[in-house]
Symmetry: C2
Subunit: 191 residues, 2 copies
């Protein structure tokens, strides 16, 4: 694969903000079947293999999975505090659940589960997220080898990337667009 | 007015994270007329007068203003790094532009413009955001007394607030909901 042109500034931002653990946190917007937006923080886990696809994890029972079945387009907003820059990455999201037919995707799902910490795996043992809490949450760590049924990967394949540098004097902003043939172009735009 | 019950934990988060200037930055999700979500960082400016309405500023020419004319419902995702907690605030957004008929709202718009720093006012002198950049951006500071035509307030009146504390052991999550009479209730839910 070809490295998309926005990968270089994104890699630079990740590197320059690496002292802040939360520089790997970003906000994902989805749309529900009623046409309303939803927005939550998710953790960037890296790129899926040798692709330009961003990898996250999610719980099959979370609202965003239902939203994505209805509207698979999402936008990630990623602000880097140290360097004062923002990336907005929009594109189609794919859910890799237990029933996903692609063996390579299943391998990635297994690998990601096994690479998590115990505390990263813990939420998948808890009862249905968002439902009324009725007591203590399970504290026993789950099997580190076998992902539970509701453990999913979430893959975002950006088609549009908007990069804003607030630190410039004046600010700089670049729009990256992928055409139907998969070719990326970039244009400087007004911030 | 009555202080909504989520105001206390939000005020506590703002206080405990006050050392980080970017703890006042949050991400706003809107929906475009094609039903796709968009997401960008905005700066919390405080509450509108004696209300539970959050105030932001925006440019009339920005995409989100067009989105909100189509779908006024939005969701703000606000992550506080120091205390590791997230607020998701959803509700109707109102744009206070130059033509807004309410004198109180116009007073608030004028007051907000005058309270900005020169660098905060500067972007409103720049050419249309998102359009191809053709040269240097204007550097002369705008009139600090009179807001330009495309300076707007953005008011978010939350009807649902989801508060997640990642630092709890285990985590804690609370859902606040406002009913048709404006009464707030809160429920502990599974994280």
């Amino acid at each position: 694969m070809t490295l998309a042109p926005w990968r270089t500034p994104l890699a630079r931002a990740l590197h320059r903000n690496r002292a802040l653990v939360y520089s790997r946190y970003a906000q994902l917007a989805t749309v529900d079947p009623q046409g309303r937006p939803h927005n939550r923080t998710i953790v960037f886990r890296g790129f899926a293999g040798e692709t330009n696809t961003l990898e996250f994890i999610t719980d099959q029972r979370s609202e965003k999975v239902a939203h994505l079945h209805h509207q698979p387009w999402g936008e990630l907003c990623w602000y880097f505090p140290q360097t004062r820059e923002q990336f907005r990455l929009a594109g189609l999201l794919q859910i890799i659940d237990e029933l996903h037919p692609d063996p390579q995707a299943q391998k990635a799902r297994l690998h990601r589960w096994q690479s998590l910490s115990d505390s990263g795996r813990q939420p998948f043992t808890w009862p249905h997220p968002g439902q009324p809490r009725t007591g203590d949450l399970p504290a026993a760590p789950p099997d580190p080898l076998t992902p539970p049924v509701h453990f999913c990967l979430l893959w975002l394949a950006p088609q549009q990337v908007d990069h804003l540098e607030l630190r410039g004097n004046p600010q700089n902003r670049y729009c990256y667009r992928q055409d139907d043939r998969g070719i990326w172009t970039v244009q400087a735009v007004n911030p």
